[in-house]
């Protein structure tokens, strides 16, 4: 395995193409812009298409069309741009069109947006939040697999550190196992056969072959997301067995927490960490088990307390949950502020251990 020194955005673009992504459409917004530039530079050589969408709404709907026609397709943006895409993400969840949405977020304030969504209807979006560039490379490919497996739009939750850090990585196609045949794709050959195909959120079917209609279809979609919830949650944890204090964090923040927890353990503290790898499905059962024996559960995230809700829902004892994160944005508005720093995180953990709640 040879390692190449690549910026995150380049590595993620290359990984997407290695996964078979052949259509990308996006609209610049920092720190997503680097991924768009890389896609536009790399797609032609792979025989794919990258379009400069004139808006995020157009970008996501182009992507929906490309996916409906059978391509592995993706779009991306961050924050506001992903907000503009919500109608189409919900639509794709309900009409079962698979694609990947790269949210190269500016911070961790899009947790609710990713896990609750701003679209309509009973849908969910599988969301993977890698902690560093090598994991982002793997998650990129896993997301295309999960999208196809479940015929659903899925979300990559990145950030400025993932987009802009240079890391030695190796990019090759990963095999996640067999997938169901794409026998639903609109390829244009159904016309005049009496069995023409249809992708329709209402699933009314054709006059000669009625579909389940909205009631039956949307129940089935809800059941599908229930089933995904049961089997697709992923997490990582360490030192849970002897921990009195457990720190919960996701994405890049979890990498910082991991480092600080190691330091504190070296100082003799009985402390561990828990990282939801999938933000949805949230690894609730695993968190319940991990928090069963601990005295305090500290939640560190760079927002006003969003994942906090999920931790409170699932912690063995919700009265043990304390929030030690907060909103922290760089002057530019485009990156993390001073809270994303090991000494600061260490101080907040220690303050919580010695009795304070919110520092």
């Amino acid at each position: 395995m040879t390692l190449e020194l690549l910026e995150g955005s380049t590595a993620i673009a290359r990984s997407a193409i290695a996964a078979g992504c052949r259509f990308f459409a996006g609209y610049p917004m920092s720190p997503f812009t680097g991924l768009l530039e890389n896609m536009s530079q790399q797609m032609p050589a792979a025989g794919g298409v990258c379009l400069n969408a004139e808006s995020e709404i157009e970008g996501v709907n182009m992507t929906l069309g490309a996916a409906a026609a059978g391509a592995r397709a993706a779009t991306g943006s961050c924050g506001q741009g992903i907000a503009l895409m919500q109608e189409a993400i919900a639509e794709a969840a309900l009409n079962e069109t698979p694609f990947v949405v790269f949210n190269m977020a500016r911070n961790q304030q899009d947790y609710f947006q990713s896990t609750r969504g701003g679209g309509w209807g009973d849908y969910r979006t599988i969301t993977l939040a890698p902690k560093d560039v090598p994991e982002a490379v793997e998650h990129t490919q896993l997301l295309f697999h999960l999208a196809d497996r479940y015929r659903a739009p899925v979300i990559f939750y990145g950030d400025p550190l993932l987009a802009q850090t240079r890391v030695g990585v190796s990019i090759e196609a990963l095999d996640f196992g067999p997938l169901p045949p794409k026998d639903w794709v609109l390829d244009g050959t159904g016309g005049g056969t009496g069995r023409s195909r249809q992708i329709w959120t209402w699933a009314m079917g054709k006059a000669t072959d009625p579909g389940p209609g909205p009631d039956g279809h949307w129940r089935a979609i809800a059941d599908k997301f229930d089933a995904i919830d049961k089997v697709e949650s992923r997490f990582e944890q360490a030192h849970v067995d002897d921990a009195e204090t457990l720190v919960v964090a996701f994405g890049s923040a979890a990498k910082f927490v991991e480092y600080v927890v190691d330091e504190l353990r070296a100082d003799g503290h009985r402390i561990g960490w828990f990282r939801p790898v999938t933000l949805w499905p949230f690894p609730g059962e695993a968190l319940a088990a991990a928090t069963a024996g601990v005295r305090r559960v500290l939640v560190f995230e760079l927002n006003a307390g969003q994942m906090l809700d999920d931790v409170r829902i699932h912690a063995a004892d919700r009265s043990a949950v304390r929030f030690i994160g907060g909103v922290s944005i760089a002057e530019s508005g485009l990156a993390y502020g001073e809270l994303m720093d090991a000494p600061v995180i260490r101080d907040r953990i220690l303050a919580a251990i010695t009795g304070g709640a919110r520092p």
């Binding site: 929906l64 490309a66 244009g188 016309g191 023409s196 006059a207």
Partner: protein, 256 residues
């Protein structure tokens, strides 16, 4: 021109004057008597057959009364979000360049909700054909003012008639699109008379030919009767269209 008195049953029930059926129709349409949209659908299906592209065509249908055609047209179809058909069609065409790709949209869908989509798609010169069914109202939601409602026209949200001061001016979208480089063929027809039906079919055919030859973007705007949304008796639809919409939106080919 009379306005319907809805307190009484219709005094002039619609009469079926002709019967057409396409092998690409899987069932009866469920639209109002006197509606122009089913006529436009028939023309579109006939053109697909005559060009022999039925088994390599993908349609993208927006939100309006024509949305129910998805159930009866024997063509591969994506039923997309309101206004977004040209973007979805772009994605489809770019990954399947050897297919014929069309959109079916209304004035509310294309000119209100999705004006940005259609203009950008035309400017990119996407090799797709957009079919606009323009009846000057939101038919599906019950006859409210759209961006193409002509000045003076009474709708449920412009009871005294469209007034430029209060409601702004109608947008001639086909003319806008015709002015963009990247556009290969743009025309405006109607289905109000037998002669115009034949002419509109020729326009649709040329639009698909422009797409298939790779010349660029094509659009056919079809003025369609909506007696229900106009609150006129069904038989008055074509006359009302000729007196109102056709005056504001001259028929003919807009590209040379």
């Amino acid at each position: 021109m009379s306005v319907i008195d809805t307190s009484q049953p219709p005094s002039q029930p619609a009469k079926k004057v002709a019967e057409f059926s396409s092998p690409l129709l899987l069932g009866e349409h469920s639209l109002c008597p006197g509606c122009g949209e089913p006529v436009a659908l028939r023309l579109l299906l006939e053109v697909l057959q005559e060009l022999d592209i039925v088994q390599r065509t993908i349609g993208v249908v927006g939100h309006g009364c024509y949305g129910s055609f998805v159930r009866i047209m024997d063509v591969d179809v994506l039923q997309c979000l309101h206004g977004r058909a040209p973007s979805c069609a772009t994605g489809i065409k770019r990954v399947r360049p050897d297919r014929a790709v069309f959109t079916m949209q209304g004035d509310g869908d294309m000119v209100n909700e999705g004006l940005q989509e259609v203009l950008h798609t035309a400017a990119r010169g996407e090799k797709i054909t957009c079919v606009l069914l323009n009846n000057g109202v939101f038919g599906d939601t019950g006859g409210q003012l759209t961006a193409t409602t002509v000045l003076g026209q009474r709708t449920k949200t412009s009871l005294e008639g469209r007034d430029a001061e209060a409601h702004g001016h109608p947008i001639p979208v086909a003319d806008l699109v015709a002015g963009l480089p990247g556009t290969a063929y743009v025309a405006r027809g109607t289905v109000a008379t037998a002669g115009s039906v034949a002419q509109t079919k020729r326009m649709l055919r040329r639009a698909f030919e422009a797409q298939l030859s790779g010349a660029g973007f094509s659009l056919v705007e079809i003025l369609t009767m909506c007696p229900t949304g106009w609150f006129v008796p069904a038989p008055d639809g074509p006359g009302y269209l000729a007196d109102s919409m056709e005056q504001a939106y001259p028929l003919g080919e807009l590209t040379t």
